[in-house]
């Protein structure tokens, strides 16, 4: 399905999110191991093993079993000390054991009998290989965040330094328009989890909570190979755990600033000159705040609280230009082939585009006893952008305002608010000597998203901005019809008149404008989204032919999306043309006309419209699922992970009726891990998994039922002439002539439509294929890892992913009506089967920070091809999960298979940091990162009559080659001064894009704006001669012979890398 892009540009703010069901996300880790007698090499039973850590309330004690094995589960991530004690043995302690989030590590120990005389030094460092799982990905902790430049300023959530930006560090991950793409999937397909609670937007799937990395203890970016505890996502999982407090008071106060004046020079994009242009510049961006954690009761009740406001300010300069004409009337063209324009002096207007966010977090952790603990956490991220006289930054993508082609005073008057609050209760308990473990989570995620008039007028009101309609003039007009020029420049837009007074007189405009808007706010909305989640998981340890860790879980999720929408003044007008053969009050009419382009309302019988000033709908979804898994370890060498997950999703439309039910989501996960030396230092693994998508609510909101809209065409009065008819550029006329039925144009009686004056107004649910299957994808991962030296691992992995069924909407009549199904099967078998095949080979080296340095390097070779991009359409940034326009137009289905937009053959990421200690008090750290990416494919796009530009693949995907390599080097310098035993003052400088590389990021892929058909299996040599027209769009002159047929800007850069930016930070930690 396709909804006109005007809606997007008028600032639709709907946090989109793939409903991500979090089934009791593992928020803890486990330590296992074997204790043997160093002399006799026999296992030692009944050894008391004690684990302690500043992050752990109290201590955890277990005892080794008859085989000398011990297991300590449900541990929060942190740095641990393990103590091993038994009578007749020398006590042994191992410290600095780094336990990451959601990991199982093995620490084997040899105890020396007391009777042994000599002292034998056992030197060994604790291992870091996670022997319990087949997951691929990276873990990011505070040490990494402090020493490497992360959270690039700008972009989505840039000033807030959101945890989501860390996902880009994983091998095979890259930024996309709405977040991070992992393993070839799109960002709405990922699962975002904070403290066990999903933070996906229930309507669109993207991350709705830009939680600051200041509040985060550990972030796991899981790219694949995960067990059935994690489900309902077909991308990766970004799993974060917030900080928890400890037995001592610790906290920090910090501030960061990225000033716009220190930006490197931006390379200017050469583009076609236009009469109205806009330029964005960063003024500044920054955040500040404080965190504090500590004990309320030592080892019993801890608290953690944080507060971090952040702000972004860009300046937008709007300039009016006049086209430079040669004396013969032709347009002056520069060396690059673009139209030359001259700025009109004094016409600059400046506006700020601001975003303000306040983040807060509070958490209490209570240890009931050694076996049971609970925690309660609350966090929120209210964000505001826009306001009276201010422009908005898109909260979903971080996109900045484009050129303001509207009358001054008729823009910069809406405020967009987005807020995600979550409240989570967690319980973890152990029974029967830690043989049975129970984890339960209960959570409420509440999100509001609105775009409302900044004067406070309510949706549906006839007063104020909410009662003021918007109008877009489509045909070319002279700029001065709407705007005054600055003093002294009044003649700048005067046209050039050739052959004046003769029959060949020609008037050539210097300031033509098209697509110019006047009036009030267009689309406005107010939405409330909720997620209630309850899940529980039980783990049972069984010794039978090895060790079994049996897990079973239940997971339920209730979602709702309640949205009220309205257009300013109840209608959005657009210049149009009368119907063919139209009449007005009985007489033929062929004059100027405008259409009620968007108006909410319905008709219960022909020509009897009922207007609705607002339209409200509430859609809900319930997902219930469960899983069973067994992690079976044999002889400490082989672990088999066998599991299955089951989900069913029921979706209810705006009328409260069941719209769609997706059952039988059987999701097997089978994997094996081999530790050939049984010492936790090596592993080989293989894993097969099937993942299912949880369908976001936006699809229901838009199609079940669809929006009730009706249409009319009216006589248009040219603005400023005072002639009869509707003139929306004048508010009084909006309220009088534009509502007068005598100005409504009628369709000719020869039309077979029963309506003469008002069309549309009826809506039914979209038909669904009764055999529809849920959307899912398969994955196979194979790899190995080896611990080279202490804390340093090397590894390699191969990942393969493909799609099974895909849910999409399709049309058999080129966009007049749609149905929902699985393309390529069932009802829709003649449509092409959606494919997305991903192959990835990664080699990596990973050293966590210890002994003063850290290093991480990875290289990924990958291939992403098919005809289905995912849950948003990268070519046009259309974010409508499962109802994209890709399968809508039968006439444009050809040429869609090939390398997909996020296909990058090579990706290299290298990170390194070293700490220098000068004196006891003074130390410094230096971090460097390098990222190199090969380019993405270039397509040849054409337009479609109804859907607009970039919808037709004139040549097969990728026929235009690739964009060039991009390199970026970032650096981080920090100086730390220890003021007292526990407090440190640090000053940091992050320089992003140190050498100001201005590589080409995106290029213009619009080959033509004409409505041309795809050339099946065509090649560039087929252009322009073999280009044909879409049916109904035929033109006498062959393609390529008329000026403007091909886009002169094709393959030219449309954006460069962000320039060098510096972030200064100051922090006091105690």
């Amino acid at each position: 399905m396709h909804f006109n892009r005007v809606l997007r540009e008028t600032g639709v703010v709907l946090a989109a999110g793939l409903l991500y069901g979090s089934a009791a996300f593992a928020q803890s880790s486990t330590m296992i191991g074997t204790v043997i007698d160093a002399q006799s090499r026999q296992p030692v039973p009944d050894v008391v093993v004690t684990a302690t850590s500043p992050n752990l309330q109290g201590e955890q004690t277990v005892v080794t079993d008859a085989q000398g094995n011990y297991r300590i589960p449900q541990l929060p991530p942190g740095v641990y000390t393990l103590r091993f004690e038994k009578e007749q043995f020398k006590p042994y302690a191992r410290s600095d054991v780094q336990l990451r989030l959601n990991r199982t590590i093995r620490v084997n120990v040899e105890l020396l009998p007391e009777s042994l005389g000599e002292v034998v030094e056992i030197v060994g460092a604790p291992p870091t290989i996670d022997v319990g799982s087949t997951t691929t990905g990276v873990n990011v902790d505070q040490e990494f965040i402090k020493r490497i430049a992360v959270a690039r300023p700008g972009g989505k959530g840039g000033a807030a330094r959101s945890f989501e930006s860390l996902a880009e560090l994983a091998p095979g991950a890259q930024n996309d328009q709405y977040g991070v793409s992992i393993n070839g999937a799109t960002s709405p397909e990922n699962g975002y989890v904070v403290d066990g609670l999903s933070t996906n937007d229930p309507a669109y799937g993207v991350n709705a909570s830009p939680m600051s990395i200041e509040f985060v203890q550990d972030v796991n970016i899981i790219t694949g190979g995960y067990l059935p505890e994690f489900g309902r996502s077909t991308g990766g999982v970004i799993n974060a755990v917030t900080r928890s407090g400890s037995n001592e008071f610790h906290g920090s106060v910090f501030a960061n600033l990225t000033p716009g004046t220190f930006e490197g020079n931006r390379k200017l994009i050469q583009e076609e000159g236009t009469v109205i242009s806009g330029l964005n510049e960063l003024k500044n961006l920054g955040d500040f705040g404080a965190t504090l954690g500590g004990p309320i009761l030592k080892d019993k009740l801890w608290f953690f609280a944080g507060f971090a406001p952040s702000f972004t300010r860009y300046q937008h300069t709007r300039t009016l230009n006049a086209i430079r004409l040669n004396s013969d009337g032709s347009t002056a063209i520069n060396d690059e082939g673009f139209t030359v324009v001259d700025p009109i002096a004094g016409s600059d207007r400046q506006y700020f585009a601001d975003t303000r966010t306040v983040q807060y977090m509070g958490k209490l952790t209570y240890l009931i006893n050694q076996d049971h603990n609970v925690s309660v956490a609350l966090n929120g991220t209210p964000t505001t952008t826009g306001g009276m006289g201010k422009l908005s930054i898109n909260p979903q993508s971080g996109g900045l305002p484009g050129a303001l082609a509207a009358r001054p005073g008729d823009y910069a008057f809406t405020e967009t608010n987005a807020n995600a609050t979550s409240l989570a209760l967690k319980y973890a308990g152990a029974f029967m000597d830690k043989k049975v473990l129970v984890d339960a989570n209960l959570g409420w995620f509440h999100q509001t998203a609105s775009t409302l008039p900044a004067d406070g007028s309510k949706l549906g009101s006839t007063q104020g901005l909410a009662g003021y309609s918007r109008m877009t003039y489509v045909n070319p007009r002279r700029l001065t019809q709407f705007e005054n020029l600055p003093a002294g420049q009044e003649g700048a837009c005067d046209p050039l008149v050739l052959n004046e007074g003769t029959p060949e007189e020609e008037v050539i405009e210097r300031c033509p404008i098209t697509g110019y808007s006047v009036g009030g706010p267009g689309f406005m909305s107010d939405a409330k989204l909720d997620r209630y989640q309850i899940n529980a998981k039980a783990t049972y340890l069984l010794n039978a032919l090895g060790t079994h860790v049996l897990k079973a879980g239940v997971d339920t999720e209730f979602l709702s999306y309640d949205q009220t929408k309205a257009y300013g003044g109840g209608v959005f007008f657009q210049e149009s043309a009368p119907y063919a053969g139209a009449t007005l009050n009985g007489a033929p009419y062929a004059g100027a006309a405008l259409a009620d382009y968007r108006r909410y309302g319905y008709q219960a019988s022909p020509d009897s419209p009922i207007t609705q000033l607002t339209q409200q709908s509430k859609t809900t979804s319930t997902t219930i699922g469960g899983f069973l898994q067994d992690s079976w370890s044999i002889a400490n060498r082989l672990t088999l992970n066998l599991g299955v997950r089951y989900d069913v999703q029921a979706m209810y439309g705006g009328d409260g009726e069941l719209a769609l039910i997706l059952g039988n989501q059987w999701s097997p996960r089978i994997g094996a891990i081999v530790d050939p030396f049984a010492n936790g230092r090596t592993k080989f693994f293989v894993n097969f998994a099937r993942y299912y998508e949880q369908v976001p609510l936006n699809m229901l909101d838009r199609a079940f039922p669809g929006e009730r809209r009706y249409n009319a065409r009216r006589v248009m009065a040219e603005p400023g002439t005072g002639e009869a008819g509707c003139d929306p550029s004048d508010r009084t006329s909006q309220e009088t002539e534009c509502r007068d039925p005598a100005n409504v144009i009628a369709q000719p009686e020869s039309s077979r439509n029963p309506n003469r004056l008002y069309t549309g107004g009826k809506v039914e649910n979209e038909p669904i294929d009764p055999d529809i299957s849920p959307q899912s994808s398969n994955e196979l991962v194979v790899g190995g890892e080896y611990e080279l030296i202490a804390n340093t691992r090397v590894g390699a992995s191969y990942t393969y992913r493909n799609m099974n069924m895909v849910i999409e909407d399709m049309s058999r009549d080129d966009g007049n009506s749609y149905f929902l199904g699985n393309p390529g099967s069932g009802f829709a078998k003649e449509f092409p089967k959606p494919e997305r095949n991903y192959n990835n080979v990664t080699v990596y080296l990973n050293r966590t920070f210890s002994d003063g340095w850290l290093a991480q390097a990875n290289y990924t070779w990958s291939k992403l091809e098919g005809n289905y991009p995912g849950l948003f359409r990268p070519e046009t940034a259309q974010l409508d999960p499962n109802i994209l326009s890709d399968f809508d137009l039968v006439s444009l289905l050809a040429n869609r298979t090939g390398p997909l937009p996020f296909d990058r053959t090579h990706q290299i990421k290298v990170f390194g940091a070293k700490e220098f200690n000068f004196t006891n008090e003074l130390s410094a750290s230096l971090g460097l990162s390098y990222r190199g990416n090969s380019g993405t494919p270039i397509n040849y796009f054409g337009s479609h009559a109804l859907y607009g530009p970039d919808e037709s693949f004139v040549l097969p995907r990728g026929a235009g080659g690739r964009t060039p390599w991009l390199n970026v080097i970032d650096s981080n310098i920090g100086v730390n001064y220890r003021v007292s035993k526990d407090s440190v003052v640090s000053v940091t400088l992050d320089v992003f894009n140190l050498f100001n590389f201005q590589g080409v990021n995106t290029v213009d892929q619009t080959y033509t704006l004409r409505n041309v058909a795809p050339i099946a299996n065509g090649k560039p040599s087929d252009l322009p001669g073999n280009v044909t027209w879409q049916e109904g769009e035929e033109r006498d002159e062959p393609f390529g012979t008329v000026d403007g047929d091909t886009n002169p800007n094709f393959k030219n850069p449309t954006s460069y890398q962000p320039p060098r930016q510096m972030r200064l930070g100051v922090r006091y930690t105690f």
């Binding site: 089951y646 997706l662 009686e749 039309s751 009826k762 038909p767 294929d769």
Partner: protein
């Protein structure tokens, strides 16, 4: 401990059984109608025209385009209307000084399909045109009386085929027909001018591939070729 394992396993198996035993059929489709000005209808004649006293000559056109629309009242979902505006009346409507609604037939429409998957429109108003003479066309008086219009509403092809009865009267001469219609109306070229199966209601024509459709009787000439529209090949539902 064994007892505990057995208990746990039983609970889980029971829960799984409960879930898999659930029926996951999609909800029943309502009485859906594809609103369009271009339904292609064929009229099957089953009696000889009569003018009340004896036989007469005038018949309905063999096939034509219909505008079929459904209206619902969101405040009272039990009320639905179906309207039909045939080309034979609409093309002459400008010659009739009366209201434009005269040329549209309106009937009450079911809200749920019956056992066979049909939704029926009943009690249609009479649609007529009283056309004055214009140019070479003489004055004429045409009436369409639709009855028992059944739209096929199965989810596999919702609201895209219909059948019904038509009593056609022109200048006093009445005849009765069975209507078979489908949507969308795709032009085709029946007299040997077609350039491939796409122009003969076959592959590539964008008709639902499950439809059994054929090219109807010649209705006119376009671009030098005699054309018609794809119409259902069998009784409704007309499927392969």
């Amino acid at each position: 401990m064994t007892k505990n394992i057995l208990n746990a396993a039983m609970v889980l198996v029971g829960a799984a059984g409960l879930l898999t035993g659930c029926n996951f059929d999609q909800p029943e489709a309502p009485c859906f109608v594809q609103d369009s000005t271009s339904w292609a209808a064929i009229y099957d004649s089953f009696d000889t025209p009569t003018d009340g006293t004896g036989a007469c000559e005038v018949r309905a056109p063999p096939a034509e385009l219909l505008g079929v629309y459904k209206f619902v009242d969101p405040d009272d979902l039990s009320k639905a209307e179906i309207t039909i505006r045939p080309n034979g009346l609409a093309s002459r409507a400008s010659r009739d000084p009366g209201p434009t609604t005269d040329q549209t037939a309106t009937g009450a429409f079911d809200t749920e399909p019956d056992d066979k998957g049909f939704c029926t429109g009943r009690n249609f108003t009479e649609a007529k045109v009283v056309a004055a003479a214009a140019g070479t066309n003489p004055a004429t008086n045409i009436t369409y009386q639709f009855s028992d219009v059944q739209v096929y509403a199965a989810p596999s092809l919702p609201g895209t085929q219909l059948t019904g009865q038509l009593k056609y009267t022109r200048d006093g001469c009445t005849s009765n027909y069975t209507i078979r219609a489908l949507w969308p109306a795709i032009p085709c070229f029946p007299t040997g001018d077609a350039t491939g199966p796409a122009e003969l209601c076959g592959e590539g024509s964008t008709l639902n591939p499950d439809f059994a459709a054929e090219c109807g009787p010649v209705l006119g000439t376009s671009g030098g070729r005699q054309f018609s529209y794809c119409i259902p090949a069998k009784a409704i539902p007309s499927l392969k």
